[in-house]
């Protein structure tokens, strides 16, 4: 059966690409520290020597729209074009083309449906920065086949937080039941406190540093009980109007397992939002 060699949860900051590639006067003062943290984070994936990446993210009204909105969707295609005109325009993100791992997509869909998750699917999916940001930060070669999984953290009504956790737990079991010798990393991105299009946006740090602190502790300690006790669909409005993206972190805590401490934890306080990076090694940390 396949092996889950790493579980990685991260924020996805669309400005990283531009900040880290800028030079001279265009290079922001925080870029060097940010790039250095990303290089260390990248190494946690490289060391795990993955063959396949399961990528959990959320479409930002690019392909998925309110006339036909899935709650959880699995891509099943041989290739995925990536990034959109408005992401090129606003963030300077490059167009990309990623290979798909259709066999694992099919396995996740079949086993997910059979275990109580009525997953939607797409045979032609153009993915956005929620998945390409972690490709850029963690595997810039973009050479590994992926299975994209989209969640709806964006267009209410949303699934409950516990459903994200349950789906994460199911993804872990399903990947480990995939009849394959391949090494799989499960990577998901979300947000800590975040405000977009509201009065608290683009402040000197995230809109709710206290929430960020608690959230990092929940994730680092695998404290699903504590997290689920405090986090509800209603409570997530208060740290910032885009904080429902935290539920993708909760999904990744489900993948990592209740009570399992992360092997690698790092954060970076930036303007607008706090960056956070976590890696778990289910089979023990690989040799450096």
């Amino acid at each position: 059966m396949a092996t889950v060699v790493a579980v990685i949860a991260s924020t996805h900051h669309p400005f990283y690409y531009r900040a880290s590639t800028a030079t001279g006067e265009d290079r922001p003062p925080f870029a060097d520290e940010w790039a250095s943290k990303i290089l260390a984070f990248r190494e946690t994936l490289t060391r795990a020597r993955p063959d396949v990446l399961v990528m959990v993210g959320s479409d930002h009204f690019h392909q998925l729209w309110l006339d036909n909105m899935p709650q959880f969707l699995v891509g099943k295609a041989p290739s995925y074009d990536a990034n959109w005109y408005n992401e090129e325009r606003e963030f300077g993100l490059p167009r990309m083309l990623l290979k798909g791992q259709e066999d694992l997509s099919g396995h996740i869909l079949r086993a997910g449906l059979d275990s109580g998750f009525d997953l939607a699917f797409s045979n032609e999916l153009r993915i956005d920065h929620s998945i390409t940001c972690p490709i850029i930060t963690l595997r810039p070669e973009a050479d590994l086949p992926i299975v994209p999984i989209y969640t709806n953290i964006f267009a209410p009504p949303l699934p409950q937080p516990k459903r994200f956790v349950q789906l994460g737990q199911a993804i872990r079991e399903i990947v480990e039941s995939w009849p394959s010798h391949l090494r799989v990393a499960v990577i998901g991105t979300g947000h800590l406190s975040l405000e977009l299009g509201g009065p608290r946006q683009f402040g000197p740090h995230g809109p709710d540093p206290e929430f960020d602190q608690r959230a990092v502790e929940w994730i680092a300690n695998g404290d699903l009980d504590g997290c689920l006790r405090e986090v509800t669909l209603d409570s997530l409005h208060s740290p910032g109007n885009a904080t429902h993206g935290f539920m993708d972190f909760m999904l990744m805590m489900g993948v990592a397992g209740a009570g399992v401490k992360a092997d690698y934890v790092d954060t970076l306080d930036l303007f607008h939002t706090m960056e956070a990076y976590f890696t778990w090694y289910p089979n023990g940390a690989p040799a450096a």
Partner: protein
């Protein structure tokens, strides 16, 4: 009131560079044209089919025609869609980084929690 249709306008204009420019330079004309020609388009569908019932009310139409992002927030338009499109419209006039984004937030400072409901 149709939060859905406001969102559809923001979504469709934002993804089309030509419409972004028309909305920046002639917002009232663009809103009228879009409502007449595009509002009832069924997206993700073969062309030739359309809905028949989608239209703005006067408040919504005026908010769009005057680039009034504060009103759009009050009406429950999706803040991500509004912000993304308005950055495309006006960030180019910045004299320092994030100037437009910060002033956009400041204009919303009178909104307290809970914010207007964005569910559609």
């Amino acid at each position: 009131m149709s939060k859905y249709l406001l969102n559809k306008f923001l979504f469709m204009v934002d993804r089309d560079p030509e419409l972004v420019e028309r909305y920046r330079s002639e917002p009232r004309e663009l809103v009228a044209w879009w409502e007449a020609e595009c509002a009832n388009t069924v997206l993700n569908c073969h062309s030739g089919e359309a809905s028949t019932w989608l239209r703005f009310d006067d408040v919504e139409r005026e908010a769009l025609a005057t680039h009034d992002h504060v009103k759009l927030f009050e009406l429950g338009a999706h803040p991500f869609l509004t912000l993304t499109l308005f950055i495309a419209l006006f960030e180019r006039d910045n004299t320092e980084p994030l100037e437009y984004q910060k002033s956009y937030g400041a204009r919303l400072a009178h909104f307290a929690m809970p914010y207007p409901d964005i569910a559609t």
